[in-house]
């Protein structure tokens, strides 16, 4: 890939008069040695699986293996059908879809990691609901996935996208930034506006810890996907209105790196802190594993210093 920062990405796209999605498609084809058509088709297959997951979570049983979660997407969907959700119908749909995919994931169903499984609901939630709302064809959304992928590629290589490394800001936060940037472009925004949307979105999740109850991708991951889809819509609206990220988005990514690197181990997916270690979190873990930690019987190995 010939870019390492969001600024470079904007510069290239502006000079070449390409959308971020179009440019990423070209670059990916060059990198893999496959044709643009083959590359596009692979992404098209991924988009089909995303839509399947949206549908599955609203129509099938999504109770997770632990029994802790499932059915929230349907609850939000039914509330939306009442016609009076506080968010409005469109944002409420995006939220229901994001919850749906995330519940399919928790129940060991098939999803596309975007960028991870823990954050797999946000992009499908935003994309599928926007497609229905604006009556876009699939090709447009598939190109949008390349745009989201380009943004995620920069975040991942300059910071991180896994909760174990950088907390939930890295995982759900990155997905919100990717969805916000891609949606901005899908709605006719310039590459520059799309990148502002990324910075605006990322700033809103800085510092978010990864503290899953029982170590499962369920509580609070699923609801954070629902919230994440709504935040992505908001960030895209701000950017399309002309709101800019005064701190350049590349610098915000560096802040994510700094914050994530200084996060204690307990707040990076280990289930040793945060919500996982609340009285209720501990009680749930005890009922799942019979102890408050899965690693009570660990061997010791290596240099402890």
């Amino acid at each position: 890939m010939n870019f390492t920062s969001l600024k470079q990405l904007v510069d290239i796209c502006t000079v070449d008069k390409l959308s971020i999605g179009q440019y990423m498609l070209q670059e990916q084809a060059l990198e893999s040695g496959q044709s643009e058509q083959q590359t596009f088709d692979q992404m098209a297959g991924y988009y089909r699986i995303m839509k399947e997951a949206v549908n599955k979570g609203l129509t099938e049983n999504t109770v997770s293996r632990s029994g802790l979660t499932g059915g929230d997407a349907k609850r939000v969907w039914e509330n939306k059908q009442s016609g009076q959700p506080s968010l409005g119908l469109e944002a409420s749909t995006a939220m229901a879809y994001a919850l749906s995919v995330s519940e399919v994931n928790a129940s060991m169903g098939r999803i596309i990691a975007t960028p991870t499984a823990g954050s797999c609901g946000i992009i499908p939630g935003v994309f599928v609901s926007s497609q229905e709302r604006f009556d876009w064809d699939d090709d447009r959304l598939i190109l949008g996935l390349f745009s989201a992928g380009a943004i995620g590629y920069i975040i991942a290589n300059n910071s991180f996208v896994s909760g174990a490394e950088g907390g939930c800001q890295a995982e759900v936060g990155s997905a919100i930034g990717m969805a916000a940037g891609a949606l901005t472009e899908l709605r006719g925004g310039t590459p520059e506006q799309a990148v502002h949307a990324v910075g605006l979105a990322l700033k809103n999740s800085l510092g978010l810890i990864c503290d899953p109850v029982g170590g499962l991708v369920e509580i609070p991951c699923i609801v954070r996907n629902g919230f994440g889809a709504v935040t992505a819509l908001a960030a895209a609206d701000m950017a399309l209105s002309g709101v800019k990220s005064v701190i350049p988005s590349d610098e915000v990514i560096q802040v994510m790196l700094e914050v994530g690197s200084s996060m204690p181990d307990a707040h990076r997916e280990t289930a040793k802190g945060g919500l996982a270690q609340t009285p209720t979190g501990k009680r749930i873990m005890k009922s799942l594993y019979g102890s408050v930690s899965q690693s009570d019987n660990s061997d010791k190995e290596g240099d402890p210093t």
């Binding site: 040695g33 060991m108 499984a117 989201a148 991942a156 896994s162 899965q294 690693s295």
Partner: protein, 230 residues
């Protein structure tokens, strides 16, 4: 660059619930299986860090064993892999341990069969992507997302030149390379990541070089595996 392309960000297609603890874990198991070359008689799986803390909830155990059974990350049979391994007569032993220097999601997989034991350590670095960091006590680094050649050989002058000359003549471009040896003139491992698939004939001509012990190929783009012992 730790993440090489758009499909390391959008993707993989996978069975939930966790890209690093489930999909990445399948790929770590698959890599061990590719290097070992066939179904093992037993597998000892040592989990570190967050893998050790949360493996049961994420199905990391089923995922690694699924990989050892040669399942891809979106294979629904992963959910039943522990039973399948038992039915296939494979002894599976999970242990957890502490290694402060390791990446949070790290595993060592030791596969044993009648004639050999292979010991692979790798980490799941996010989004289903993995990095192998040690093979049979050689410190090497590779991602398995390119066609990858592992050559176990004696450390001798000109060995790498001989191998790369064969690759060059066959028109295969090297994207990344890593070499480690146990001692001067001792055992060595060369890992070569390539832009394209290696024709069978080329693998054979490399195996025919002097001082080569064993060659295996790993490629999770196509999930293929070949093994040659000379």
């Amino acid at each position: 660059m730790r993440f090489k392309d758009v499909f390391s960000i959008i993707g993989p297609s996978m069975i939930g619930p966790s890209s690093s603890h489930t999909a990445g874990a399948v790929r770590l198991g698959l890599t061990a299986r590719s290097i070992f070359g066939c179904l093992p008689e037993s597998a000892e799986i040592m989990l570190y860090g967050s893998f050790a803390d949360t493996y049961r909830g994420h199905g990391t155990d089923m995922a690694i064993v699924g990989g050892i059974l040669d399942y891809s990350p979106d294979d629904p049979r992963i959910r039943d892999s522990l039973n399948s391994a038992q039915r296939a007569g494979i002894r599976i032993d999970f242990r957890t341990a502490v290694k402060p220097t390791a990446h949070p999601n790290t595993v060592t997989i030791i596969l044993q069969g009648s004639c050999r034991e292979d010991r692979i350590t790798g980490s799941s670095i996010g989004g289903g992507n993995i990095e192998i960091t040690n093979v049979n006590e050689f410190d090497v680094r590779f991602t398995t997302m390119y066609p990858t050649l592992l050559i176990f050989h004696d450390d001798r002058t000109g060995m790498i030149a001989d191998v790369t000359r064969i690759l060059c003549n066959s028109g295969v471009n090297i994207s990344h390379m890593d070499v480690d040896r146990k001692s001067r003139k001792g055992d060595a491992l060369t890992v070569i990541e390539m832009d394209g698939e290696l024709p069978q004939l080329v693998v054979q001509s490399i195996s025919a070089l002097p001082n080569i012990h064993r060659i295996c190929t790993v490629n999770q783009r196509g999930e293929s595996c070949e093994l040659h012992v000379t």
